[in-house]
Amino acid sequence: MTLWVLIGIVIKILMIVGITQGTVAYLILVERKIAAYAQDRIGPNRCGAQFGLPAALLQPLADGAKMLLKEDVVPKYVTKPLYILAPWIAIVTAMIGFAVVPFGPVGPNQLIDFQIAPNVDMGLLYVLAVGSLAVYGVILAGWASNNKYAFIGGLRSSAQLISYELPLGMSILGMLLLAGSLDMNQVIAWQSQNAWGVLVQPLGFILFFTSAFAETNRLPFDLPESEQELVGGFHTEYSAMKFGMFFLGEYLHIITVSFITVILFWGGWHLPFLGLTPESSGLIDTLLKVGIITGKVFLAILFIMWIRWTLPRFRYDQLMDLAWKSMIPLALINLVATAGIVQLVRTYWN
């Protein structure tokens, strides 16, 4: 029994690692296409045409081959162990968040649990904790590079991530109070029975989504990289696959953040008028749930990319002002108001 459970989990881990890595490769293509479209260009459309494939479908393969075959330069002046460790931290911390992310229905009477570690009661806490570990990759890369630009990038990243951890954590507390659990499946179940998180917690959603941009180091908050003034920031000294791993880590982070957004605020696998309940477990229902959740995640990722090619980068003081003077007070107000309303409703309604 336990052996089969173990084998099942290993298969799930391998599948999720494979699928997410493949997705990341194609997300880079999608990002380039969206960038091109937003700038009135056509974008990559050649790679794969030799084999009759449309729309540069082999571009990720070419990109990956380039990353692997390029010369891997390690400058003489770097702190070697940390320099080599940093990209691994970036990618591993981005990967292990997936352990508790439900990719579909999870439950005692389901066909398969679409989650590596099913029904973890502190799932969200784990995701937040692991997500904030990613900053170590950036800081260590910046520090070990022994380069002023990389170092400033690392410092900026640490200050930025510490600031945005607070609104990120507080903005989801309202949703958790409503659902009464940190288990993501419970949160989805609550939303499918009541209303989507974005409707009952609009402020919480906006705060969460904004801090998520800062957490993933995406524009408009990509100050750790800022090509113009920091020459690439923390990954200035990295080349070939070591650089590629930072890239991979960033996109994995986007996928995780999109999953959390969809699960907490967009109702997970729930769509109105489809009649899906947490208990429905037929084959069609299961496939529908997986399809809906991945579809929503893809929409979230597209939206994140759309934002990237719309907004310019914040200035550093504006970034800090936004976090400490606006988002944290708003998140606190949201939290207190939600707590009060939940208490009143629970006391006088039921």
Binding site: I34, A36, Y37, A38, Q39, D40, R41, I42, N45, I206, W306, I307, W309, T310, L311
Partner: protein, 194 residues
Amino acid sequence: MRVDDPQLKKIEPPKMTLADRFFLPQVAAGLVVTGKHIFGVAFQDTAITVEYPEVQHVPSPVYRGVHRLNKDEEGRPKCVACMLCATACPAHCIDIVGATAPASWPDREKYPESFVIDELRCIYCGMCEEACPVEAIELTGLYDLTGLSREEMIFDKTKLLSVFDVTRDAEPMRFTTPPPEASSATQALESPVS
């Protein structure tokens, strides 16, 4: 300038309204703008770039590309080797060796025995064209100027005259013939460099 100079104008950044300070309306407006562009290119084919090797870009009529040496009606180079273009050239890329014109050319005293332009040194400013008193040198709309060696990019008289042959119909001589009515834009041409 002193700090309290009365002529000093102080410009304040515009005051942000409450909606502006929440950023979100402005963010939404920005998303609409980029959304329109993304939608346009994705579904309505409004991209302003072209797929280059298959589709040739047509530059504007005033584009300054590769030089050509104009020929007159008898096929002789119009150049009279006056050296004005070489003098005007800020990049010193024109090298002319003049010689006395043959007796059969009674309308001029000199002609260029050799006329060499280093296309790599040229900055394509068009000063030679401005300076020329007989409209012998002109810049064409050819932009795909490539070569495998530096020597290949030094154009001699033969090559410059052949550029004229290639572009003669697409770009009539600007000052000696009236401009065509329909379109004076450069047509896609075969590159003279080979």
